[in-house]
Amino acid sequence: MASIKRAGPFRLIATLGIAGFFSGLVLVTVFLATQPLILRNQAEALEAAIYRVLPGSKKQKAFVLEEDTLVPFKEDGGRLPLEDAVFGAYDDNGQLVGFGIPAEGPGFQDTIKLIYGYDVESENIVGMEVLESKETPGLGDKIIKDQDFLDSFKALSVEPEVLAVKPGTSQNSNEVDTISGATISSKAVIKIINEGNRRWIDLVSQIGESEEKP
């Protein structure tokens, strides 16, 4: 380095320019190479979660919101707008099992993203899984791991709405025990689900009815 103590301005600009050029070249190459894999990972994770929250489902179909009604998503229509989409899930015979509904909202630390399965026929929630959250490890993140909490979403009535109650006091089919040590996080999950219900349940029920007719 000592040999070029008095580098002229041109030399300085050239050095940074060349470094920037090669950096850009590498970054764009790696981005183009990894992007399809990253998108596929995300899609696979979502797809697998939908099958888990709707037991018995084997196939799925995306629906998107267009002018206040749900229409089947056309594969060639580019990227699926996730914030305006729900997923119909079907069993081996093509019978509708229910809908996978993605929803998100504020948690204790950051946005909680989750998906839950709604059975149109029984009008129950039949499963819930947190997709993304940054809740406190060991406390708030029990919403992902606590089996009793997750089990309470396996036959949960949504009428008139889901209620969060103190640990061990749930009696009615629309009540969920909050987790001690994760009260705020578990209440956040229930609030997110209620908001998801208000937005989607009427819409998916219409689809459910129209699919049963033929």
């Binding site: 380095m1 580098a7 940074l16 590498v26 970054l27 894999l37 990253i38 993304e132 940054k134």
Partner: protein, 215 residues
């Protein structure tokens, strides 16, 4: 000193005498933040190793071409490029690990261990020594993170590398996997490291003075 001995010395110093975490106290942000399990420590160490080794190789190879006035900028461009490559590759190949480490992968850019090695070593030394230095420092850093992560995981979750150790009867010491547990664990390890270092140098001084007497 012959060149083999020099290479060995520059490589080994990162493990003990100049361990980045326990002696230089560099890179403490990841050492505290992502070490709530051994596997997270290992993944963070791996990503840091990739970035440090890559940057040191390039900086050492081009050390005679980079004008002094823009050296830091060039180092940062190099480091940032490697970090972005690591970030995207982890996201594509190991989405589960990337999800755990989150924003801390991108924050490797500002890990002063990496920039420090470029400025203090790679930009002044030939390729072979720079590689040795980077490997030693990176593995020393990884070792420290796995150690902190392992201790915190055993006490805070009752498991190591995700394998349960004590069965259901164990009541996890939750605070150990929360932020305070990071500070506690690192603090205790620093005390142990400093004590061992101290008694070693005392013993060496003792041997030396004895040797002088005998002579």
């Amino acid at each position: 000193m012959d060149s083999e001995g020099r290479l060995r010395k520059e490589t080994m110093k990162g493990f003990w005498q100049e361990n980045p975490v326990f002696v230089q106290l560099l890179g403490l942000c990841p050492a505290l933040a992502v070490t709530n399990s051994a596997i997270n420590g290992l993944a963070m160490g791996g990503a840091t190793t990739f970035v440090l080794l890559g940057s040191s190789i390039l900086v050492s190879l081009f050390r005679n071409l980079i004008p002094k006035q823009v050296r830091i900028t060039t180092f940062i461009i190099t480091i940032a490029t490697f970090v972005t490559v690591a970030d995207l590759s982890l996201q594509a190949l190991f989405p589960a690990i990337h999800k755990e480490l989150g924003a801390f992968i991108a924050l490797i850019v500002v890990n002063c261990l990496i920039l420090g090695r470029q400025e203090a070593f790679a930009s002044r030394n030939p390729f072979r020594l720079a590689v040795g230095d980077a490997v030693g420092m990176a593995l020393g850093f990884t070792m420290a993170l796995v150690l902190v992560g392992g201790i915190r995981e055993i006490l805070g979750s009752g498991s190591l590398f995700g394998v349960s150790l004590f069965g259901d009867a164990f009541e996890p010491w939750v605070i150990m996997i929360l932020p305070p547990g990071g500070f506690l664990t690192l603090g205790v390890l620093l005390i142990i490291f400093a004590q061992v270092q101290k008694s070693r140098s005392q013993r060496q001084a003792h041997i030396k003075s004895k040797g002088l007497e005998a002579a």
